[in-house]
Amino acid sequence: MKTSLNRRNFLKMSAVGGAAATLAGCQSDPVEKLIPLLVPPVDYVPGKSVHYATTCMECSAACGLVIRTREGRAIKAEGNPHHPVSKGRICAQGQSILQGLYSPSRASGPVYVVDGIRKAIRWEDGISLIVSKLKPLKNKQGKRILYLGPPKSGTFPSLLSSWMKQAGGGTTLELDLMSVNSVSEANRLCFGSAEIPHYALDKAEFLLNFGSDFLESWLNPVQLTADFSEMHSLNNGRKGEFVHVGPHVTLTGSNADEWISCAPGSETYIALAVCRELLEHPPNISRSKIKPIRTYLDSLPIDKSLDKTGISKPKINELAKKFNRKGKSLALAGGNCVAGAQATDLQIAVNLLNYLAGNIGETVLFGADYKSGGSSLEQIDGAIQKMKAGRFDLVIIENVNPVFTLPKQSGFEKALKKAPFVVSLSTENDETSTLADLHLPTSHFLESWGDAKPRNGLFTIQQAVMDNVPQFDTMGLGDLFLSLGNQMEFRGFEAADFQQYLKNAWSEIQKTVKNRQPFARFWNESLRKGCTYRNFTPRSLPLRSGVFSRKPVPPETGTDSITLLAVNSNLHNSNAKGGNKTWLLETPHPLTQVVWDSWLEVNPQTAERLSIKHGELVELETSQSKVKLGVWVYHGIEDNTVAIPAGLGRSVLFPTYKSSRGRSKFIPILESGDDVKVRPRKVGINAMELLPWKWDFLSGDLCFQGEIKSIRSLGKAADLVTMDGQHRLDINTDQSIIDRGLADRSQKGRGFIQTVSLGKTQGHDIDHASKGHHLKKRFYTVPRENKHSFYDPMEENVKTHAAMSDQITTPVYHDPYKWEIAIDLDRCIGCSACVIACYAENNIPMVGKNRAALGREMSWLRISRYFEKNPETGKLETYYSPQMCQQCDNAGCEPVCPVYATYQTPDGLNAMIYNRCVGTRYCSNNCAFAQRRFNWRSYQFPSPLHLQLNPAVSVRSKGVMEKCTFCQHRIREMKDIARDQGRTIRDGEIQTACQQACPANAIVFGNIKDKNSQIYRIKQKNKRKYTQLAELNYQPAVSYLKKVNLNNRKA
C-alpha cells in the first residue's frame, strides 16, 4: 500500500483487491466463486476485510454500496463514496439489506407444488418445467405471459423484453407503490417530459414541501437528505428555511421550520393560492407567459377553497414572499399523505409554483430522468382483470409481493388463483410465493450480478459480493433467464452467464460515457468504483398551455368523516420489504418511538371527540376491513385525520423467547433450550387491508387515503411498546400539554438538546447569536449571573477542553490519540440510519417486543426524541439527539466497577472487557446518560443471520454489560496498519459505523490530539459546541453542536 493511505484510498485499494480477485482470470474463464477457499486469491488474508462495490436494489433509487466481507461473507453494507448520487451514504433500509441476504425467511431451494403438496425439486427440473410451459406459447405469439417484478433499470430489462418477445410475448409490469408517477405525469402535462427531475435541494434557500417524505422513503432519501442537510444546516451564519404543508408530520415534517397543517386534499389549493400571490410580485417571466396563468388561476375557486382550508391570507402572503427568490426556492410534493385521487393536480400546482418562482432550470433540473416508481396501477389492474379472465397462461412474479402489498379489493389473490401456472422467482418465501405453483428462488442481489441506471448518464454495477449463502440453493435472476433462453434456443442468449452478458452490454455503455480506455480496464475500474458516470445535461423546459385545462377538485368541507392515511416512514414503506427485517422493527419509529407494532396516530381533538385515549386499543373499521390496534395521540396530525404506518403486518421469523408479560408474576415461567424456536409471528397490521383499490386516474399512483367508518374504543390498554420514558410525570411536567390531551414528552429542562436561534440575526456570526440576546432561555444552560445553585451548569467555555490538550501540565496520558465525536444537532434529522449501522457493525442482538417493553433493549445508539413546547407559540417542536456512550474522561462507570471490567484506555475510551465483567450493573446505574446495556439473557441470531455477525466484534453472552465502543475494532484495525507503516493515523482514516452511515453528515469522529483534524477544529472553534450534563463533570468525549432554529421556531 502507498504511504498516502487514507480511508478512501483504503477502500479503493480493498475494492481493487476484491475486483482483481474476481477478475484474475476474466479473459478466459470467469471466476464464479468469489473466494474459493481451496485456492485462495492472492490478497485473501483471514481476518482481513475485503470491500466490494455494488449497487443497492432495495428500492429503485439504486444507491452505491460498498460491502465489507470477511472470510467470504458479507458482514456490513456501507455507502459507496464514488457514487455520484448517494455519495458514500446509506439509509436505514439500505443498512438492513444484509438481513435480507441472511433472512431466515429465504426460500431454501426450488419448490414445485403438485396437488397442494410442496415438493423440493432440482433446479434443472424447475427450469425444464418452465420450458415445457413455454414451448406451446412460443409459436402462438399470443401475449399470454405476465411478468411482474420490481422496477429495474440497466441491462436486465432489455434481456427480459427480448426473452418475452421470443417466448411469445406478454405483459411486463413493474410493481412499486411509491407515489412518484404523479410527478412524472405532471411533468409530462406541464413541460412535456414525463420524467422525475433532479431536485437541487442544496441550491435552494427556501423549501416548500407539500407532504412528501423526502427524508424517508420518497425518491432517493439518501441523496435528498444529504442535499437537505447542506441547505438546512448553518453555514456562515445563514441557513435555509423549510416549510412543511400537509395533514401529517412524519420525520421529514418534523425537521421543518414550520408545519402548516391542512386537511388531506386541500394542499392543491394552498399551492395555487401561493401561485396567485406570486403573480402579485411579478416574477421574472415575460408578461405574455404570465397572462394565461393569471386567467387560469382566476378561473379556479381559490378564495372559496382557501377559506375551507383555514389558512389565512397573510400566511399565504408570507409563503409567497419567502418563496419568491428568483430560482433559489423549491416546492416539492409527494408522499403518501398527499397521495389522493388528485395527486397529479397537486404536482401540477407545485410545478406552477416552481415555474413562477423561476426555479425550473435552477433547483428543478430536467434531463436527469431518475428511475423511480413502478407501472401505473391502471395497468396493474388491467393485468389483474386479464388474469382473472384467464388470459395469461404463465404468470411470473419476481421479488414483489402483490398479494400483501396491494389492497385486498384489487382481487389480486383471487385472480392469481385463476392463473393456470404461476412461477415465483422470489428470494424470500412471502405471501405471494406461497401461492405459486413453482417457486424458483433467485439469488439475493448481493449474491448475483446485475446493473442499474438510476439516472441519465449514471451506470452502476451490481457485483456479486459473495458466493450463495451456504444453505440456500438459488440462482441469479439473469442467469436463470439466460439459461431459459438458451434451452428455448432464443437469439441473444448465448452468453455463458449473466456476468458475461453484462460485460457485453457494458461495452456499449463504455461508448455512451465516452470512455476510450481498453474495455478490460474500463470494466475493472467500473467494478472497483461500482459505477461509471457522466453528469446529465440539465434542461429547462417551457410550460405547456395544455395544463390549463386541468380543473382541480376543491377541498370538501363540512364532512365529519375521518380520513385514514397509510404513511411511510424511514423504516417501512408500502412495498413492505422491510416488514420482516428485525433491525427495522426494533428501531423505534422516530416520532412515536413505537417498536414491533402498528399504531394509529390520532389528533388530540379527534381523540377527545371519539372519547379515546392514548394507548388504548381501538377497533378501526373501513369499508374494506376491520382491525384492532393501539392509539398514539399525536399533535402532528390534522384534526379528523388518522394515520397508520404502511409496510407492517408481515410475518417475521423470530425466536420464541418466553415472557411473563400479562401473566401472574408469582408463577414460574420456564424456558428450556427447546422452547426457543424460530417461529413466524405477525408484526403489526397490514395497512393495505384498510385501503380501497383506488388510484389517481392521471398517474396511476395508489390512493393512500381511506375513509374510516368507525373508530371504537375497546376499553382496554393496547400492547403498544414505546422506547421513550420522558412522558412519565415529573416536577417539570407541563400541565398545559396534558390538558391538550397529550403527554409532556419534553426533556424537562435538562439540556440534552440545546438550541440557538437565528432570526433577525441572519448574517450575524453565530457567536453573537449564541451569547447575545437571541439565545432564548428555554434550555438548561444559564449564564453565571443567573445561577441559582452550584449545580446549575454555566455556559461552557468551549475552548477549555481543546486548550487543555496543549498544556504540558496535564498528564500526557492520551498520546498520541484521544478519540472524540462531535454531533451536529443542526444536521441530524433523526433518520436512525446510524442506529441500524450500529446494530449491523456490533452484533447487537434483537430482543423483540416483550423484552423491549421491559426495558431490555440492546441498542448501543439511540435517537432521543423530545417534543418541546415553544413558550411563544405554544406549539410542540420536535428535536432529535443521537445518544451513544459518551466515553467520558471522568466517567461514572469506571470507578464503581469492582473488577476493572471497564477502564479508561490511553486513547481516552471507556473500554469494556466482556470477559472480566461479572455483571454487578453498577456502571449502568452510575451512567448519567443511561447508555449501558446488560445482557439479561443469551440472545439468538436465528440462522442464517448469524453469518452476518462481524468477526471483529465479540458476541456477548448472558450476564455481561456492553455499550458503544466508538467502533474500537475499527480503531484497532487502522492502528495496526499505521504501525506497520511506521506512522500515526491520519484524520478521516477511521470512521465509526454511525458516522459512515449518516446521510446528513452530522457525526464527526477523530483524534482531538491531532491539531489538523476536523474534530479538533470543531471543538476549538465552534461556538455551538456543548456537552451534555456538563454540571456532573463527567467530561464526555461526545460534544454536541446546538440546534439552530430560525426565529426561535421549529416544527
Binding site: 411473563s660 408474576k665 408469582f666 414460574p668 420456564l670 424456558e671 420514558g725 420522558q726 412519565r728 410525570l729 415529573d730 416536577i731 417539570n732 419534553s746 426533556q747 424537562k748 429542562g749 435538562r750 440534552f752 438548561y780 445553585s789 449545580y791 446549575d792 421491559l854 426495558g855 431490555r856 433493549e857 432521543s864 423530545y866 470507578p895 464503581v896 466497577c897 469492582p898 473488577v899 476493572y900 465483567c917 461479572v918 455483571g919 454487578t920 450493573r921 453498577y922 449502568s924 446505574n925 452510575n926 448519567a928 443511561a930 449501558r932 446495556r933 446488560f934 445482557n935 439479561w936 439473557r937 443469551s938 448472558k958 450476564g959 455481561v960 454489560m961 450534563l1029 456532573l1032 463527567y1034
Partner: protein, 440 residues
C-alpha cells in the same frame, strides 16, 4: 412460675432444646419449602440469566439489592443489642440478646447471598476477591462494591466469633447435662469451659473485647453499605446523609425484626414468657420509636436539601418519589416507618403483644420499601428523561425473596433446637444469687 430462679431458667432453656415436636416439624417443613422455592428460582436464573427478574434498563438494581440492604440492616440490631447495649449495661438486653445475635449471624448469612445472586455471572463472584493470579488481574479498591465485600466478610466473621464466644458458658452447661455423643459434640465448642473463677475472668475480658470490636462495626458496615449508593452521582443516592441515615434505618428494622422473632419465640416455649418480660420487649419498642424518629428526620432532610440545593435533578427526583408513578411505594413506606411507630408512644399499645407484633411486621415492610424506594425510584428517574422507566416484580425475584426468608428461618429453627436461645449464664447474672437463708 411466679418467681424466676436459676432452676426455672435452666428448665425453660433445656425444655426449648428437647427433640422437636409436631409443630416444629411442620414449621420447619414450611421453611424448607420456602427455601427450595428460592433455590429453584436461583437455579433458573443461573441457567437463563436475569431474564425473569424485574430488573431492567434503567433500573439495574432492584429487589436483590433491596433484599441485601434489608438483611444487612436486620443484622445490625443483633450486634447493637449484644455489643453496644452490653457496653452501656442496658438491663433489658439480657433476655433477648442471644436470639438477636443469632438473628444477626443468620441475617448476615442471608444478606451475603444477595450480592452474589444479583450478579449477572454469579459463578465468577470470586473475582471480587483480591487473590494473586497469573493473569495479574486485580480488583478495584475504588469501587464501593469492593468495600462491601470486605465490610460484609469482616462483619460476618466478627459476629460469628462473638456469637460463639457468648455461647461458651451455656454450651458448657449443656455439655455437663448431656451424655454420649451429644456430650462429645457439645464439648467441642464449649472449649473445655469449666466455670472456674479464672476462666470466668478471662471469658468476661474476652467478651468485653469482642463487644468493643463489634461496636464500631454496627456503624461502619452499614455506612459502607450506604456508600454503595452515596458514592454514585445519581440523584437520590448521591447524599452525605446516607451513612447515619442507613445506620439508623438498620437499627430500626433490626429492632423490629427482633420483636418479630421474639414474640413468637416467647409464645412457642411456655417457659420463656417469664424470662423474656414484656418490659424487655418494651425496651425494644422504645428503640423503635427512637430510630423511627431519626429515619423520619432523615426523610425530611432529604426533601429539604433537594429543595434548598436548587439542584434540578434532586428536586425532580424528590418530587417523583411522592407524586410520580411509583408513589405508592413511598407513601406505604411513610405510613409504616413514620406513622405506625407513633402508636408505640402509648404504653398500653407497647405492652400489648399482638399490637407490638403487628407493628413490628409493618416496620419490617416499611423498611424493605424504604430500600426499594432508594434503589428503584432513583434509578427510574435518572438524569436522562428519555431513559426513565418503571419496575414490575417478576417471579424469580419474588421466589428468591421468599427463599431468603426460608434460608434465614431454617437456621433459626435449627438454632432454637441445638443451642440455648436465651443466654442462661447472663440471665442468671441478673438474678439475685440464691444464698442460703441465714437461719438455715
Amino acid at each position: 412460675m411466679s418467681q424466676i430462679t436459676y432452676g426455672t431458667i435452666n428448665d425453660s432453656v433445656v425444655e426449648s432444646m428437647v427433640p422437636p415436636g409436631k409443630k416444629w416439624i411442620i414449621g420447619f417443613l414450611m421453611v424448607l419449602s420456602a427455601l427450595s422455592m428460592g433455590v429453584f428460582a436461583f437455579s433458573v436464573q443461573l441457567r437463563h440469566g436475569l431474564e425473569w427478574s424485574g430488573i431492567n434498563h434503567p433500573i439495574s438494581w432492584g429487589v436483590y439489592i433491596t433484599n441485601f440492604v434489608f438483611w444487612i440492616g436486620i443484622g445490625h440490631a443483633g450486634t447493637l443489642i449484644s455489643a453496644v447495649l452490653y457496653l452501656v449495661r442496658a438491663p433489658f438486653r439480657n433476655s433477648i440478646y442471644r436470639a438477636s445475635e443469632a438473628m444477626t449471624v443468620f441475617a448476615v448469612m442471608t444478606a451475603g447471598l444477595f450480592p452474589i445472586i444479583h450478579l449477572g455471572r454469579a459463578w465468577f463472584a470470586y473475582w471480587l476477591m483480591p487473590y494473586p493470579n497469573q493473569r495479574e488481574l486485580w480488583v478495584n479498591f475504588k469501587s464501593p462494591l469492593l468495600w462491601d465485600v470486605f465490610a460484609i466478610s469482616t462483619y460476618m466473621s466478627v459476629s460469628i466469633a462473638f456469637f460463639i464466644l457468648g455461647l461458651i458458658p451455656d454450651l458448657a452447661a449443656i455439655r455437663d447435662e448431656s451424655k454420649g455423643l451429644k456430650r462429645f459434640l457439645y464439648s467441642i465448642p464449649a472449649l473445655g469451659f469449666k466455670g472456674t473463677n479464672h476462666q470466668w475472668i478471662h471469658y468476661m475480658r474476652g467478651y468485653l473485647l469482642f463487644a468493643a470490636i463489634a461496636t464500631p462495626l454496627v456503624f461502619s458496615v452499614h455506612s459502607i453499605v450506604s456508600w454503595d449508593f452515596a458514592m454514585s452521582s445519581l440523584s437520590g443516592w448521591h447524599s452525605t446523609i446516607f451513612a447515619p441515615y442507613f445506620v439508623a434505618g438498620a437499627i430500626f428494622s433490626g429492632c423490629a425484626m427482633v420483636l418479630t422473632i421474639m414474640i413468637p419465640l416467647r409464645s412457642a416455649f411456655p417457659g420463656f414468657s417469664a424470662i423474656i418480660s414484656i418490659k424487655d420487649l418494651g425496651g425494644m419498642a422504645k428503640m423503635i420509636i427512637f430510630t423511627s424518629l431519626i429515619v423520619t428526620y432523615a426523610y425530611a432532610t432529604e426533601f429539604f436539601i433537594a429543595y434548598y440545593s436548587g439542584a434540578k435533578f434532586e428536586r425532580a427526583l424528590f418530587w417523583f418519589r411522592p407524586f410520580g408513578e411509583m408513589k405508592w411505594y413511598f407513601w406505604l413506606m411513610v405510613f409504616c416507618n413514620c406513622l405506625v411507630p407513633v402508636a408505640l408512644w402509648f404504653k398500653k399499645l407497647r405492652n400489648n403483644l399482638p399490637t407490638l407484633f403487628i407493628i413490628s411486621l409493618l416496620v419490617n415492610v416499611g423498611m424493605w420499601l424504604e430500600r426499594f424506594n432508594i434503589v428503584g425510584t432513583s434509578l427510574a428517574h435518572g438524569f436522562d428523561p428519555f431513559a426513565w422507566g418503571t419496575y414490575t416484580f417478576e417471579w424469580v425475584e419474588i421466589w428468591i425473596t421468599i427463599g431468603s426468608f426460608g434460608w434465614f428461618f431454617m437456621w433459626f429453627f435449627i438454632f432454637v433446637k441445638i443451642m440455648p436461645s436465651i443466654a442462661v449464664a447472663e440471665m442468671k447474672e441478673t438474678l439475685k444469687p440464691p444464698m442460703r437463708k441465714k437461719n438455715e
